[in-house]
Amino acid sequence: MASTVEELVARAEALALDVDLTGVAAWKEADPARRVVGYLPVFVPIEIITAAGMHPVGIIGGTDQVEIIRGDAYFQSYICHIPRSVVELGLSGRLDVCDGFLFPSTCDVIRNMSGIWKLEFPDKYVKYVDVPQNFDPEIGGNWWRHEITSLRADLEKLGEIEITDESMWTAIALHDENRRLLRNLYDLRSERPWLAPTSEVYLMQRAGLVLPVQEHNELLREYTEAATNSDRPLMDNSRIVLAGAFCEQPPLGLLRTLERAGCWIVDDDLLLGPRMITEPIIDPEGPVGDPVDALVKAFLDKAAAASFIYIDEKVKGAELADMVDKRQAEGVIFAAPSFCDPALLDRPMLARALDERGISHISMKYSENTGQFQTIREQAGTFADALKLWSDA
């Protein structure tokens, strides 16, 4: 019998909050040859890990559950929260299951964490993944091809395996499917947010950080179907887009607070990494040529706008404003982690773009362990009411 929405949500929540990675450990134990590779936010070419037969694990912090003791000893008070909790997880042995770690070029903090890991965990494979900021296929494209190729070679060594083109294509197909399912779910949420509220959709996404992609795809299918068919009553809230939360994640309580305050989040940049590539990598006719070329091309041509990718010739904030239009949203809530350079430095530029298009916005800060939502509730509630007044007027 198919699972109910509630059962699926409960399962996803258990996975999302499994900071001890017990599920991943069980997967690994089943076969001594199995390898696990953790990656930090935001973007890594996750397909290569899957192609290597390894389990990719999104390391996104400690939620509001993990008490920070040693992690605080590593970072000054003016640095964001996620590195503290990740160090806490590492030093407390909760990341021991990982054989390797990828630190992408998100910001200077995550960049420097790659060095901390090299010093603290000399036995683990550690790679800093430097995405290109030049988008000429022959220049930035070549650089990215080099990064992907060296990652591929490293994982071959780590797993004592060969990563064939065939397994690369299979992995790309699985992740294409994963992104398609996520886009579907986002579409459902935008069309009928009362059926698939963000507090659930987010858990479905987050569960994917600790599941092999095949299992995650199955969970997304089940949930989307169950949510679509559920008989939840229509609720008329203000429609907002959430921006700024692509790296350190807000606590669940914050997302729930926004919804309770009368905001349907109809699009967002939460857990952006696995959704960065916005269109299928594989052509409709099927795989052609070199899979590494396909990954390179996908990043150059199909990546979502993000703070950590150079704006180049594009217009800052245009994608966000377009997203507001596409989702028929009424406003934007910037919710950025405290001390998050990329999000906070982008904010004035994004705000300007929204102002130019007449889109309302408010701004708030959080950290992954924010414990009180009173102010946020009031702020979001007032914003939701104001948006309603505007749209009624």
Binding site: D64, E67, I68, I69, R70, G71, D72, A73, Q76, S77, N369, T370, G371, Q372, Q374, T375
Partner: protein, 449 residues
Amino acid sequence: MNGLDCWVGIDLGSTTTKAVILDSEGAILGRGITNSRSNYDVACAVARAEAFVDARFALARRTLEADAELAPRTELLLPVIAASFAEAKHGAALDALRAELLVAARNDFYKSWQPALDRVLGEIVDEMEVRAPALFVPGAERKSDFFRDLASSSFMQLSEEAADPGTMPQDVLIGMFDKAIIKVENQELEVSFEEHVGQALDRLLEAAGLEAGERARAAELMEYAVGMPLQERAHVGTGYGRARLPFPKASIRSEILCHGLGAHATFPSTRTVLDIGGQDTKAIQVDERGIVTGFQMNDRCAAGCGRYLGYIADEMNLGVHELGPMAMKSTRKVKINSTCTVFAGAELRDRLNLGQQREDILAGLHRAIMLRAMSLLARSGGVHDDFTFTGGVARNPAAVRALRELVTENYGERKINISAASIYTGALGAAIFARRAEDADESTEEAAA
């Protein structure tokens, strides 16, 4: 009479100023404490005066204990003398308070409340005087040893009773008090030790606890103890406000070094020291000689310091000393994420509104503070045996409990030293530095000769 050499250490903290006096053997002769005020010179002088009074008591004790006849009477005599002295000091401060209140009431701003204002203020101080002796019965529990705290709490109560919203608002009275108390605190009140020893002995005689012969002998001994010249050979200052001490640079040492040495002197096997004071938190590693090998201090943020507890106490309308005992009654774990002083109040109210118990929230807050201390300890090099916890917060049982738990969870079993006099650790270290520096000078002189 040959004088007694002594060495003085002064720790000028943000909340309290402490003084310690050492004798030539390095034994502690006296300790003094007072609340730090806007005027550091006065705080320093008061703490030092207190320590010298305390030293007199120590001398008195030594003298009594050395006397075959009166030695058994020591425990009877000394507390009475001490209480009498404290009461006299309190009385002198009340006199000063009365005078300053009347000065404050002269201000034109309060004209409309006169002459009733003078009368009400007078009546309040009269009543404070009536109530004072009860505070100084030997063995009586006092909420604080500071005049400001004692006077403030009874003035609040009495002014509330005396006030009338129409004719004499309590705000006006409290305004007077706030002005006057600052003046009183910044006076050095002369209270003669000798005089009060005499009074105390008379009292003992009246109470028939002492025979006339014994009284005469006691008076003789006390006279000796009181008359013994205390020769201050050298002093060293330390603490947050040390730069403001009127000492030459050579007589000033960093609080880190003093705390390390003071902790080492109290507990020689100490290797890690945690000091949580009002303004800052320090994690210090020392070697087997008490020499500091590493340290970390908290950053700009006041979270994790004694000051944070002060905010919480204000927010809950409690005295700081009441927080710990209340938190000890906690039965459920509440996790507090925000140690930010700015948010602490909001989070507190939020949680109380949610129906959580005050005790449980307080226990959570204490753990949150100690988590900050744990990260400083980790930065400084961890927690090694013996581990010594000092500073004002070390007197808070809930803070100690949280620290014990966290140390055990993260470092395993550790021996944790906490001494009742831990607040004097910095001043003790300073006094030892004073004594050593002079030794060093002497040995140089000897070598030269």
